[in-house]
């Protein structure tokens, strides 16, 4: 496969960076940073590894002599040790639904749902990496990485879709550190109790997260006519509808109910929920995610 072909991870990364370039680097709002030792940009207001000055304290017996700040000590009689603030990086786990149900589009002019979800995942990763945060792909067995150059690595991880016939549309149970952030991108058409279970599993770690439902316009509107046998992509079975236009209203109502359920699940866990249709520009969805993750100037730490 050549370098410029659309399926190549490097090309995907380039495209995602192009998309992310319109937004400033994303610094995740983090009151509580994931319990890791990774150094980052989030000052923890306590002494630790970091670049910025935190305090001088009196030399105690047992401190290494090398740590004495002689300039400060020379001002008085006591000797002082210079301490820096512990600066940690927030870790964000991104997940996109790579199941068979995402590999679908109603029109060849539209991207597949999976394609759009990957694009958003990568663009978000790019923003986060530029912001100095640590990013990992959930369910890929990947340690959080940081640094702008790591976007390539991340893109490769995203490109490894795993089993193309994977059926589950829900994030796997993962052993995440506490106070991390997760962003889940998928179509979330699974039964609500399953979604509830998956979200609850993450929320109890605890991590906070965001749900982004990616839908095809045909899934949103059911524009078909006539007698159609619908076949699921996740082996849900098939539905033979005699007259599709007759049930359109009912379908849309059911979809709205699903979305309401998802919103409720997210709210219960303190998460946010958004919907993205693939015929809308990805910028909108990315902006939504950005706003949800970024520190809110007005009300810092706004839930949902």
């Amino acid at each position: 496969m050549s370098e410029g072909a659309p399926g190549h991870p490097a090309a995907a990364a380039r495209r995602a960076e192009q998309l992310a370039a319109r937004l400033p680097p994303l610094l995740v709002a983090a009151e509580r940073v994931a319990a890791t030792v990774a150094q980052g940009v989030h000052g923890r207001r306590r002494v630790g590894q970091g670049d910025s000055f935190w305090q001088f304290r009196q030399f105690l017996a047992g401190d290494p002599v090398q740590r004495i700040d002689w300039r400060q000590s020379a001002k008085g009689d006591r000797t002082f040790v210079r301490e820096t603030e512990w600066e940690a990086a927030q870790s964000v786990w991104l997940w996109r639904d790579a199941s068979a149900g995402m590999r679908w589009r109603s029109d060849r002019r539209l991207p597949e749902k999976a394609e759009r979800a990957e694009l958003l995942t990568l663009a978000l990763a790019s923003l986060l990496l530029r912001g100095g945060e640590r990013v990992a792909l959930l369910g890929a067995g990947m340690r959080p990485v940081s640094g702008r150059s790591m976007i390539e690595l991340f893109a490769e991880a995203v490109a490894r879709r795993g089993d193309p016939g994977a059926l589950s549309g829900l994030p796997p149970a993962a052993n995440l550190p506490r106070y991390g952030r997760v962003v889940l991108i998928g179509d979330f058409l699974s039964p609500l109790p399953d979604v509830q279970q998956a979200v609850a599993r993450l929320a109890q770690i605890p991590v906070t997260g965001h749900l982004l439902q990616v839908l095809d316009p045909a899934e949103a509107a059911l524009p078909f006519r006539g007698r159609i046998r619908f076949e699921g992509l996740r082996r849900e079975g098939a539905a033979l509808i005699g007259k599709v236009e007759g049930i359109r209203g009912d379908y849309q109502a059911k979809l709205a109910a699903q979305q309401d359920g998802l919103r409720a699940i997210a709210a219960a866990a303190g998460w946010s929920f958004a919907v993205h249709i693939t015929d809308h520009p990805p910028e909108t969805a990315l902006m939504g995610l950005y706003l949800a993750l970024a520190p809110d100037r007005a009300g810092r730490g706004r839930a949902a």
Partner: protein, 901 residues
């Protein structure tokens, strides 16, 4: 088994009963709803609960139903094997005896005859009957008609297809004999007769056929008429074609064509046959020179050996000049010197009168001098030369010649003459002796009543006997002759009137003159038992061709009575100089229609259309309908979307029309948006690819070295494409390029008038005609009609030499040729030459291939020549883009000087 329904018959009619099952099919199709569209849909879980809510009763649409029923019906009908125009089968159930008349009379409607035979075979095949074949004419090997073994119809088909009409009459007596041992139960007989009676055996033959089984006779339809050309009659001014025909109740008009040996038709005459008549004549009048070139007369549109009458020497008319010594009394009735000659020669020759010089001015075969003593030395020289070239000079003696003999005589004459008989003589008038064997008159009968009373005498000489062609009973020469060169001189020792003998009164005189005329121009007819080998023979369609191996020669004396046969087909026989024609028509008196046998079914030939098996068509239509049905079913299920399908169909159709697409006009929008060079498409792929590569190379060079920004070059066709977008046209002239059409000329003239420049490249300079022979002629042809100004070699100070680079010559792939531009004096178009003509094959020098190399070596070569070629290209582009702008730079020093002051 075969049941005729109107004109459509079915081989298996019982299969049609299955049509009754169609309603069942209708019912089955109606209760089975069409398959739904299939669609993958991720959100199907949401639909699972909704599906039972609404289920319309889906039915097959009526048009799909109709389509399927129609297809099923077509299959059933097709399997029943319908046959269009299934003919009336001959009765009986045993073998079919197919009797084909393949004599000369079968030629004209041979196609219909073969078709009828084919149809009969097809019928026999359908009915499973074996077939036996009998042709009635003797085969080309000369074997008598023979009955073929009984064999299945398909095997017989090849034999029938190989049948050809033969150029001789059928032998029905022998055919009757061939049938004698044959018998088969239940046999039927189909006789494809030629419709003519051929002797007494016809009745017996018909009776024998009728005795074998039910007899069907297929004869030419009522309106058809048989024609045969009888031996043409030669008349003084014309040749008369005699046509014998079978009587028909309507007036017919027959065209007769007079053809030469090489097949050209020189004249056409028409003969009209009133109803019921059997003979007509058509006269063809031609000048003798043309008439002598005729090789055959043929009835128009009749393809048979009988419709062609080959012409040999007997129908040639040779020009004969007559000169009398006493011109004023020459034509006096009964007494004049030329009176008898005129009457003897006129029927078979073209007679001319005049002085020797006038006669020799035109083609002339024989000149007869009757007692002429006034020949001047010049005339004698001219006549001698003419005789050497093949002329025959016939002289008659008389008082004047006897007094003053000249050298143009075969023998020397003694002075004075000899009188035989008369009042003062003891001698009786002399009679003629039989002609010597080696004389041209050999074989002519000598009548007893010819008397010679006076004659001139030859001086005795050693070779006198050899030169004597006719003698009197006492041995005195009467006619002496001598061949000189290719011609001959003959002297009658008597006068051409009855003064000295009564020879001119006898028929022998005519015959002797005829023989003498035939001597001219190498015509020495073989006589006696000499065998005339076949030269060209006619086939059954009346076409001349090489004789077959079974043809044998004919004795010259027997050819008059020879009836054409396999051994002697009609045609030309004999050596080149003495060719004789053997014509079928010469042995035919009249044409009699065939008396149709009693009780036989008669069918006109070639009227009914050939039976056509409809099964493939019906099954094919059913297949097409079923394919359509499949496509519709796929479409209904959503597996085939109309748009991509239409696109695919468009691609297929487009592929079929790729050549058309390739020759389409260039896109004017694309051409207009950027400045680019163009070349004229010659249609020769190799030349066009060199032109394109050359202009690509030049465009690259120009873009690299100058501020110009040219786009990819284009190929154009003057008259098809709009030329107004291009500053420069490169035109490689190929030797076989044709002239421009009117629109092309117009377009190019407009192009040049608006400031465009055409660079004609004959691609041959420096190599003469060797590399592109004919390019100059092609250039002349191509530029015909173009308004090209007077040209001159490029002067040393021409703008082309300084438009960008300073150049002294303009090399391309070649070097050293002359480059022509508009003469300097012409101020039209701002002194910018609209044409540049050269032959350096510039495109090849500029050409750059895909890998960026120059594929064509420069001659004599070197990087310098290539560089100069590119520089010329740059100058050329600059010249085309800026006109004579750079010419103004000539004045720069002066302007600078002025500024300095």
């Amino acid at each position: 088994m075969i049941e005729a329904l109107g004109t459509i018959g079915f081989a298996h009619p019982w299969l049609l009963a299955t049509l009754l099952l169609l309603p069942l099919l209708i019912w089955l199709l109606r209760v089975t709803p069409p398959a739904p569209k299939l669609l993958a849909f991720p959100a199907v879980r949401l639909l699972l609960d909704l599906q039972r809510r609404e289920e319309s009763s889906a039915r097959t649409p009526w048009w799909l139903l109709a389509l399927r029923i129609l297809a099923a019906a077509l299959v059933i009908v097709g399997l029943a094997r319908p046959v269009l125009n299934a003919g009336q089968a001959p009765g009986g159930s045993g073998p079919l005896l197919l009797v084909v008349d393949d004599g000369w009379a079968a030629g004209p409607d041979w196609g219909a005859r073969l078709a009828a035979a084919e149809a009969a075979l097809a019928e026999a095949e359908r009915a499973g009957r074996p077939v036996a074949l009998l042709t009635t004419a003797p085969s080309a090997r000369g074997e008598a008609p023979r009955l073929s073994p009984v064999m299945p119809a398909p095997e017989m088909r090849e034999r029938v297809a190989a049948l050809r009409p033969l150029p001789w009459p059928p032998d029905r007596a022998a055919a009757t004999e061939a049938l004698a041992p044959w018998s088969a139960s239940g046999a039927a007989v189909l006789w494809l007769a030629d419709g003519l009676a051929h002797g007494e055996a016809d009745a017996a033959f018909a009776a024998r056929l009728a005795s074998l089984g039910p007899l069907t006779v297929a004869v030419p339809p009522a309106g058809a008429q048989h024609h045969v050309l009888l031996a043409p009659r030669s008349e003084p001014a014309r040749i008369v074609a005699r046509i014998a025909a079978t009587p028909v109740p309507a007036t017919t008009t027959i065209g007769v064509l007079a053809r030469t040996a090489d097949g050209r038709t020189l004249a056409r005459a028409e003969a009209t046959l009133p109803p019921g008549t059997t003979e007509a004549e058509a006269a063809i009048a031609l000048p003798p020179e043309l008439r002598n070139r005729l090789a055959a007369l043929a009835i128009e549109n009749a393809t048979s050996a009988g419709a062609v009458a080959l012409l040999d020497e007997r129908w040639r008319r040779r020009p004969v000049g007559l000169i009398a010594g006493a011109a004023e009394t020459a034509d006096q009735p009964l007494l004049g010197a030329l009176y008898y000659l005129d009457r003897a020669l006129a029927p078979f020759t073209e007679l001319r009168r005049g002085a020797v010089r006038d006669l020799l001015a035109r083609e002339i075969a024989v000149i007869v001098l009757a007692d002429v003593d006034t020949l001047t030395p010049v005339e004698i020289d001219a006549l001698t030369r003419w005789v050497g070239e093949g002329g025959v000079l016939v002289r008659f003696a008389g008082p004047r010649l006897a007094a003053r003999p000249d050298p143009l005589l075969p023998v020397r004459l003694r002075g004075g003459d000899r009188q035989l008989g008369g009042a003062l003589s003891w001698q009786q008038p002399a009679r003629l002796a039989p002609f010597p064997q080696d004389s041209p008159f050999a074989g002519l009968d000598v009548p007893n009543d010819v008397r010679v009373t006076r004659q001139v005498l030859a001086e005795p000489a050693l070779d006198l006997v050899r030169r004597t062609w006719a003698t009197l009973t006492d041995g005195t020469p009467l006619v002496t002759g001598e061949t000189r060169g290719r011609g001959a001189i003959a002297l009658f020792h008597v006068t051409a009137n009855t003064e000295w003998s009564n020879l001119p009164l006898s028929g022998l005189f005519v015959a002797m003159l005829q023989r003498l005329v035939q001597l001219s121009a190498g015509v020495g007819a073989a006589t006696g038992d000499a065998v005339l080998a076949p030269f060209e023979t006619l086939d059954g369609f009346g076409r001349l061709g090489a004789p077959s191996a079974f043809t044998t020669g004919i004795a010259a004396s027997a050819i008059e009575r020879t009836v054409p046969s396999p051994r002697h087909p009609p045609g030309f026989y004999g050596p080149d100089a003495a060719r004789r024609a053997l014509n079928l028509g010469a042995t035919i008196e009249r044409l009699t229609p065939l008396a149709l046998p009693e009780g036989a079914a008669v069918r006109p030939l070639g009227v009914e259309a050939a039976a056509r098996d409809l099964r493939p068509w019906l099954l094919g239509a059913a297949l097409a309908l079923l394919t359509l049905d499949l496509l519709l079913a796929l479409w209904l299920r959503g597996l085939v979307r109309p748009a991509p399908a239409a696109r695919a169909a468009a691609v297929v159709v487009g592929l079929a029309f790729v050549p058309a697409a390739a020759s389409a006009q260039l896109d004017p929008m694309q051409a207009a948006l950027e400045t680019r060079l163009a070349f004229v498409v010659t249609g020769i792929p190799q030349v066009d690819s060199v032109s394109r590569a050359g202009l690509v190379g030049l465009t690259d060079f120009v873009n690299r070295r100058t501020a110009t920004n040219l786009a990819e070059p284009m190929g154009v066709r003057p008259g098809v494409d709009d030329l107004s977008f291009f500053p420069l046209l490169y035109w490689p002239v190929t030797p076989d390029q044709g002239a421009l059409d009117e629109r092309g000329v117009e377009a190019l003239n407009a192009f040049m008038a608006e400031g465009g420049i055409v660079l004609f490249d004959t691609r041959d300079a420096g190599s003469g005609q060797g590399m592109a022979a004919g390019a100059e002629a092609a250039l002349r042809r191509v530029t015909r009609g173009l308004s090209i100004p007077p040209l001159a070699p490029v002067p040393a100070d021409h703008v082309l030499t300084r438009a960008f680079y300073l150049l002294t010559d303009f090399p391309g792939r070649w070097i050293g040729g002359q480059v022509w531009v508009q003469r300097d004096q012409d101020r039209a178009n701002d002194s910018v030459s609209p044409v540049i003509i050269g032959g350096h094959d510039w495109a090849a020098a500029w050409a750059v291939d895909e890998t960026g190399r120059n594929p064509y070596a420069a001659v004599p070569g070197g990087a310098r020549q290539r560089l100069l070629a590119y520089r010329f290209g740059v100058n050329l582009v600059m010249y085309a883009l800026t006109g004579n702008y750079k010419g103004d730079q000539v004045h720069v020093p002066i302007i600078l000087e002025r500024l300095g002051q």
